[in-house]
């Protein structure tokens, strides 16, 4: 786990990691949230609506921005203040996603950092993007 402090932060700093969003995560998210929408649970329902497969919950995919900030950039010293996510393409169970964050703003006056995040499939398709504001706890 990274342990960057505010003083370490510079614009352009980049971290990334790879995750596979599988059926287990999909089921765990359902159990946690109770979101029973069949678009996420019923293949036939999803295909009838023009999707290749069940659609991974958007908020499950974007939950990896928590990991991006909390583990990689800046890591253990941060607290997420804001996270604005835009969803561009569906994610399907089994997709391998690269989660990347780039520091775009280091604000001395408020001791906050803004990180631009994106998740990309192996074929280069950007499935969602985010702006994450973090403060520092240590």
């Amino acid at each position: 786990m990274k342990q960057y402090r505010f003083e370490d932060m510079e614009t352009g700093m980049t971290e990334r990691f790879v995750v596979t969003v599988g059926k287990e995560q999909q089921e765990a998210f359902y159990l946690l949230t109770g979101d029973s929408n069949p678009l996420h649970r019923d293949v036939d329902f999803a295909r009838e609506r023009g999707f290749e497969d069940r659609v991974v919950y958007g908020m499950l995919a974007s939950a990896y921005y928590s990991t991006l900030a909390g583990v990689y950039l800046p890591g253990s010293n941060c607290l997420i203040n804001e996270c604005k996510v835009a969803y561009h393409q569906p994610v399907y169970p089994g997709d391998v996603l690269t989660v990347e964050g780039v520091v775009k703003d280091v604000r001395e006056s408020t001791r906050r950092v803004k990180i631009e995040g994106k998740m990309t499939r192996a074929d280069g398709t950007v499935v969602n993007t985010a702006v994450i504001a973090v403060s520092f706890t240590g």
């Binding site: 203040n81 804001e82 604000r107 001395e108 006056s109 408020t110 001791r111 906050r112 504001a133 403060s135």
Partner: protein, 79 residues
Amino acid sequence: MSREEILDRVNKVFREVFDDEDVAVTFASTAADVEGWDSLRHITLIEAVEDEFDIRFKINEVTGMKDVGEMVDIIAERI
């Protein structure tokens, strides 16, 4: 730029940050006068005001402003 002109632009920032066209602050306004102006929103406001006027506040100013008028005075010094 006059204090009134700065206040007009500060009000524009407040309306954007609070996503509320009805928000209107005066020189005497404080966090207690505006619903939702909590500590986290204050930080967002400060950053938005900095971007609007292309200035930077000092850390002690961020935590020490007693009202909007004081914010306007600091902006007037920097632009």
